[in-house]
Subunit: 115 residues, 4 copies
């Protein structure tokens, strides 16, 4: 067993943030009217967490509109709607974790990049 490098910890921390935001907020009632406040609350919630430099969150209007075509005019936040990027800085390493729905894989894919 050896200590993880700063880059490995950076990647780990990026993963934590994406797993957290997905599972905390999926299911939230959302509409065009409330979308901006939810994006902002998710962004600020994640900004609280350790080693976070920057967060971007986007709820896709096209998917939201389709999902809201029901009797009550809103939807539950779904994996298809949610996009996010989290930038982490740890011990000199910087990385970015991204969440976006992958249409071919039919899956909310999380990916890692180093700068």
């Amino acid at each position: 067993m050896r200590e993880p490098t700063p880059r490995e910890v950076c990647a780990f921390e990026a993963g934590i943030k994406l797993g957290a935001l997905f599972h905390q907020f999926i299911g939230t009632p959302v509409s065009e009217a409330s979308k901006a406040s939810l994006e902002e609350a998710i962004r600020r919630a994640v900004m609280n967490q350790p080693y976070v430099k920057r967060v971007e969150v986007r709820i896709r209007s096209d998917v939201l509109k389709r999902a809201s075509k029901n009797t009550f005019g809103y939807a539950s936040l779904s994996p298809e709607m949610l996009e996010a990027s989290v930038w982490i800085e740890y011990g000199g390493a910087t990385c970015r974790g991204r969440l976006a729905y992958d249409v071919e894989k039919r899956y909310p894919l999380m990916t890692l990049e180093f700068e």
Copy 2:
């Protein structure tokens, strides 16, 4: 302002349990292999709550199978998949709250019945 009747409190408590179970568990990773354990955990979690006499939970295999046809072979628990009934007893009143996805309304509908 007047005190609610036992029947009104019974209805209120039934609503709490359905709102709780929906928003606690939507988003959980689920597959045919893990479905039974999740149903059981939801059932037992709700049984802890006040005035609950009985709980039934069902994750629909047909919807789960369709949703799991992706690269990784599982899905996030979605509103279309989850069915539940909660029986509440309060002050001599008994009621049942039900959750089931309504295809026409395109909505996870919660309804109330008294016995």
Copy 3:
């Protein structure tokens, strides 16, 4: 079995909203800096739901401050922190569901009132 009255459905709907907001948002990373945005997002999320006339949400600063005295300066939203009121109108009936932590019962108590 008989149909529920408008007052009973009103109570049921109030319960749904309180159960939903508690279980959707408990666990969210929160600090003094992000508190207002989370309160607003919860409020607007619940406003989407059927029969909701008004919502008030408050995250208690005193509890949040104590819980944030840790290495990273923020907390997970806990049952002790969260207060909310939801006003429901259904079929001519109006009611209010309230959530507040009850110190004696050591429990996040939800209560129902009719106007």
Copy 4:
């Protein structure tokens, strides 16, 4: 920008799983009676996710007992109660992510180890 190494992706995936399980299940009603079913459901939920080799989940009975000393005899799953380990294998690399409440830091700490 360069491609992450297998070890970095392994760390990222471990982080995702810990962030996910914490934020999905915090808030769940839990008691001594339901504890085992919730541990099992969390374990099996996480086993669905990509690259997971093994999962251990423990809800601490000592913390649960203290938190359940209230009017209704159960508690909401809290950060102080939840311990988990997730083993990930990716591209030949193997790592372990751990979650345990750190009493000194007053924080549910997530840590990374390579084997």
